[in-house]
Subunit: 184 residues, 2 copies
Amino acid sequence: METLDAIRLRCSLKSKLSGREVPPDVVGAVLHAACLAPSARNTQPWRFVVVRGRAAVDALADAALPESSAVIRRALVVVVACARPADGVVVGGLNYYLYDVGSAVQNLLLAATDRGLATHLIASFDEAAVKRVLRIPDDVRVVVLTPLAWPDAASYEEAAAERLSQRTRKPTEEVVFEGAWGGA
Amino acid sequence: METLDAIRLRCSLKSKLSGREVPPDVVGAVLHAACLAPSARNTQPWRFVVVRGRAAVDALADAALPESSAVIRRALVVVVACARPADGVVVGGLNYYLYDVGSAVQNLLLAATDRGLATHLIASFDEAAVKRVLRIPDDVRVVVLTPLAWPDAASYEEAAAERLSQRTRKPTEEVVFEGAWGGA
């Protein structure tokens, strides 16, 4: 898929996840793309836990995702993106680990879209429960998680059409400034 | 360009920037791609200041980028990515604005790569000076900046070849865990 098409078509498809098997090599390719993201001083602070199979996904959903449990239970693969804040580069009081994880997960989402896989980013979960279920150390933060699932539709484009028709973005003039803040 | 090629070819090309004019519509398309990134509760906290032209870029470089001044002075366009932390969604004590800016800038870098533009992410700068030169409000953080420049080579691929041959990434087993932290 063309890069700009992947960027445009990537959207949250929480109501369109199917339980069709996602081969390990597809998951591996998507995670490889994630790891090619840039990071501050190349620290690569991202870590990914891959939860695979009905029993494991259900256990995670039941323990940690009361609000999203029904969504997650439709998928057979969930990727949990984590990082240790102590691994992050701090410049001017900003710890760049969250920035770096954002870059890597964006690569992951675009590579998934390119392969026709549906994703749905979730930042709201019971972090202590995720850590307990996945044996994640105390000093690591769970940042986001997403199912990786074939869409429950004839194609990715068909699955995404309704969602994309509802996409909202701020007007460019509120977000992009020429020359100086607010415009030159 | 294919999505996975853009992800693979994106790299920091600080020694390969040329001063050839980058048309405004190309810069606009790259920024549009940035704004299609997901964000926590669709807050879109990213803001971009576009610095364009020899005098403006030199003024920014001289004031705020003592270490990178020579690099930045080769480019005619610099994009400065900012955000107001107060706009970020806070979940479990994590403010997701830096994560969201990371996602948006990754889209920007990939769209630039797709168009054959060289980029070079910089997180180290005199933030107070950037804010003074670009009239950025006190409550906004300057997160990263990157030049957008045609590469000083016959093609993007040629410009990137040496850098990509030196790319280092942690082994997969240190970063991707199956089933639980450290592996099931």
